[in-house]
């Protein structure tokens, strides 16, 4: 491969006898080089596509996918297409539904239908299962009468509206629910019922907690990084080990250690009581305090390392110059040194903030329900209720919020912006 680069880099002067113009040959060489570079990044591009873009894309489609009714009751939905929706439909719809439910009986399809309708209104699950048990119908009896005889709910308008509502191939239902919105019977977007309205609060909480952790990490990490950058190599290496050692320890182990330290009969409480600072143990666990302590501890290296790498590259000459020209120490630090660390603060802050946004295990183990961030609810829908539509929709909200944040960062604090500020 190096030969290709070499030849193209050292294109010989146009040979006398060759008819092809120089421009054309240059373009060909250029194209060859582009192809080569393309081939070199191809593996990475493939990995990103297969392991990153494709799964995220398919995850996002789950958030709007709505196949349960659409795929399993196609004939019923076709009949309902011209239905005016103000009174229960006519015999054809009942017959189609009875036939399709009978066909789905005993297969996972019937459970999917029942589960999806139950989300529209709790109680429809047993309606569907109970009806399926009594199917197929006697062809001689009108389907409407027979279904209403099995359960009176089939004669109600609301039941059919629910089927109609749930029948689209795609649904905004989950995405709307993820931002505390719902669609009412008339098809308008309204605020979700009050006892279900939490995700906006949870998202704000996620932002707020991430912000606090980032600020704490910066406040603690900056002096450490500064010290490391100004010490001799031997001492700074020693300090580096102290930073990296916890970094290499499993997150679970560190969280478990905090439980041991912070619990009612834990070391911290015993120490406080021994010192006489408190009579009864303080509640340090299962509240926000415990979560903040552990998260700052876990994420600190992600702040210290970028800061250190930037500070290491700042020449001490500038500070010395400022001081020798009579600028007071703090002022020269603030005016000369600090602005140069901004790229490190930006990178470290962004890294810590974005990692916080997706944090799950630490709040789950050390926090109460009021400390849970968005990822807890994603896990809840994925694992517990197996409502993957809702999990995907919440993931989409988290992803969008993170991207938005990154864009704001790139616009106001990104590398180009910092360079611009430095130039000024």
């Amino acid at each position: 491969m190096s030969t290709a680069v070499d030849t193209s880099a050292a294109v010989p002067l146009p040979a006398e006898g060759d008819g092809t113009p120089l421009k054309k040959r240059l373009r060909r060489a250029e194209r060859r080089r582009n192809l080569l570079f393309g081939a070199l990044i191809l593996p990475l591009a493939l990995v990103v596509l297969v392991a990153f873009i494709w799964p995220i894309g398919s995850l996002l489609t789950i958030g709007v996918d709505n196949p349960e009714i659409h795929d399993n009751l196609p004939r019923t939905l076709a009949v309902l297409e011209d239905w005016n929706g103000s009174a229960p439909p006519d015999e054809a719809a009942f017959r189609a539904l009875a036939d399709e439910l009978a066909a789905a009986k005993g297969s996972p399809a019937i459970a999917a239908i029942a589960k999806r309708l139950n989300r529209e209104n709790a109680g429809y699950r047993s309606l569907v299962m109970k009806t399926a048990r009594k199917l197929p119908l006697d062809a001689a009896v009108p389907a409407r009468e027979a279904l209403v005889a099995i359960d009176a709910q089939w004669g109600e308008l609301a039941t059919w509206q629910a089927i109609h509502r749930a029948g689209g191939a795609l649904t905004p239902f989950y995405l709307l629910a993820a931002i505390d919105r719902a669609i009412d019977a008339d098809g308008d977007i309204v605020a979700a019922p009050e006892d279900e309205r939490i995700y906006v609060d949870v998202l704000l909480r996620t932002f707020w907690m991430s912000l606090i952790v980032t600020v704490c990490c910066l406040a603690l990490g900056f002096p450490v990084a500064y010290l490391m950058a100004s010490l001799s190599t031997r001492h700074s290496n020693m300090l580096m080990i102290f930073v990296l050692l916890p970094f290499w320890t499993s997150v679970l182990v560190r969280v478990a250690a905090w439980i041991v330290l912070l619990q009612n009969e834990g070391l911290v409480n015993r120490l406080l009581m021994w010192l006489g600072l408190t009579d009864s143990p303080l509640q340090l666990l299962f509240n926000r305090f415990g979560v903040y302590v552990a998260m700052v501890h876990i994420l600190l290296p992600f702040m210290v390392l970028p800061l250190y790498s930037v500070m290491k590259g700042i020449s001490p000459v500038y500070m010395r110059a400022a001081l020798s020209l009579g600028c007071p120490p703090f002022r020269s630090f603030w005016k000369i040194y600090f602005p140069q660390t901004l790229p490190g603060i930006g990178a470290g802050g962004l890294l810590v903030f974005i990692m916080c946004m997706g944090y799950y295990i630490t709040p789950a183990l050390l926090g109460g329900p009021k400390e849970q961030m968005l990822s807890y609810f994603i896990a809840f829908y994925t694992n517990q209720t197996i409502n993957w539509g809702m999990a995907a929709a919440l993931s989409a909200v988290l992803l969008a919020a993170t991207l938005l944040l990154y864009m704001v960062y790139a616009r106001y604090l990104g590398p180009t912006r910092v360079k611009y500020m430095k130039a000024r």
Partner: protein, 346 residues
């Protein structure tokens, strides 16, 4: 370098060995872990391996069905036998996550308590969620869920399982609803509101737990004064010398069952295991190890009278207790769990 290479070789060999090992006749049995799993190992896993030569690989989970669903849908099932709670069994059976089980291959239906016989599952044991407390910390013993809610008389934090199931029932019991009416009340929107309103009153004093091993720990350490807990975990802590007590009044019992995830490659051995675990002798050993009641009625005479008195199935403990309404939770579980989560996060 040389060391690294030999280490790598060893690691590859171990990995291959492991793969080959599982590919032979081992079966993977997933339970709820902790003291219950230890008892299962003594009563079922080890004797089964000894009797048949099929090794049991034990694993644990907290009852989430997502993994089962993902395995079955991907057609890559690595779990052979799974312990499930009854609503999950019914739901999973309907959704096609579990294999249908021909009960004739397990035993005589007449020998089992009715709740142990299902289309896709075979009962393992009767367990109970009950009020437990640390007798060293409380001068006076609580006797009901109303006492659990009484923060003036019994100050301190209380533990409840993080979830709607059982929590809502206990709230209604504390609010004076008789055991026979709990599910009737809870089936109405007003009843659900009533349960949440009752929980609101205690919310500041509740600490939520998720794994069954937590309540005995938190009770023993003094973090909690009372907690809802699985009775077997409390009895296991009693054996370890902890002075924890169970209040059977207002406890809710249920049957846990074995199920076989659909597409398990070792279905025949899995069924053999379930049959083995349903034998009266083995069930009696299990009840001796942990205070969960047998589902095979023939096991009852084989159980020591002292042990039997501590089981959820003893007539004395049954008074004031109620059964889980599986149908109710299959129907309302998703909505109530969702609402519970929203409520708890606020």
């Amino acid at each position: 370098m040389k060391h690294a290479a030999s280490f790598l070789r060893a690691a590859v060999l171990v990995a291959l060995g492991g793969a080959v090992g599982t590919a032979s006749a081992d079966i993977t049995v997933i339970s709820f872990g902790g003291a219950s799993q230890k008892a299962q190992d003594k009563a079922y896993y080890a004797p089964f391996a000894k009797a048949t030569g099929v090794k049991v690989v034990a694993g644990e989970y907290n009852g989430e069905q997502a993994k089962v669903k993902a395995m079955v849908e991907a057609g890559n099932v690595t779990w052979d036998v799974l312990e499930v709670e009854s609503p999950e069994l019914v739901r999973g059976c309907e959704e096609g996550l579990f294999e249908k089980i021909d009960f004739a291959q397990v035993g005589d239906k007449a020998d089992f308590v009715p709740a142990a016989v299902n289309e896709c599952g075979v009962g393992i044991f009767v367990w109970s969620t009950a009020l437990a407390y640390n007798a060293d910390r409380l001068k006076e013993a609580p006797t009901s869920w109303a006492d659990f809610w009484n923060v003036d008389k019994f100050p301190g934090k209380r533990g409840l399982r993080k979830g709607a199931k059982y929590t809502l029932e206990f709230a209604l019991l504390a609010d004076g609803v008789p055991t026979s009416d709990v599910y009737k009340v809870l089936a109405t929107p007003a009843g659900v509101d009533r349960a949440f309103a009752k929980l609101d009153k205690l919310k500041a004093n509740i600490q939520w737990w998720e794994a069954g091993a937590q309540p005995p720990q938190l009770l023993a350490s003094g973090d909690l004064v009372m907690s809802a807990a699985y009775n077997g975990r409390i009895s296991a802590a009693q054996v370890e010398g902890k002075n924890l007590k169970v209040v059977w009044n207002g406890s809710i019992y249920d049957v846990d069952s074995w199920a076989i995830p659909k597409g398990s490659p070792n279905k025949a051995d899995a069924l053999k295991f379930i049959r083995f675990a349903s034998q009266p002798d083995n069930q009696a050993v299990f009840s001796g190890e942990i205070a969960y009641g047998p589902v095979n009625l023939k096991a009852v005479p084989a159980i020591d009278a002292k042990v039997a008195a501590g089981l959820p199935t003893s007539p004395e403990n049954m008074t004031g207790a109620m059964a889980t309404d599986t149908e109710f939770w299959v129907e309302h579980g998703e909505n109530l769990e969702q609402r519970f989560n929203a409520w708890a996060a606020r």
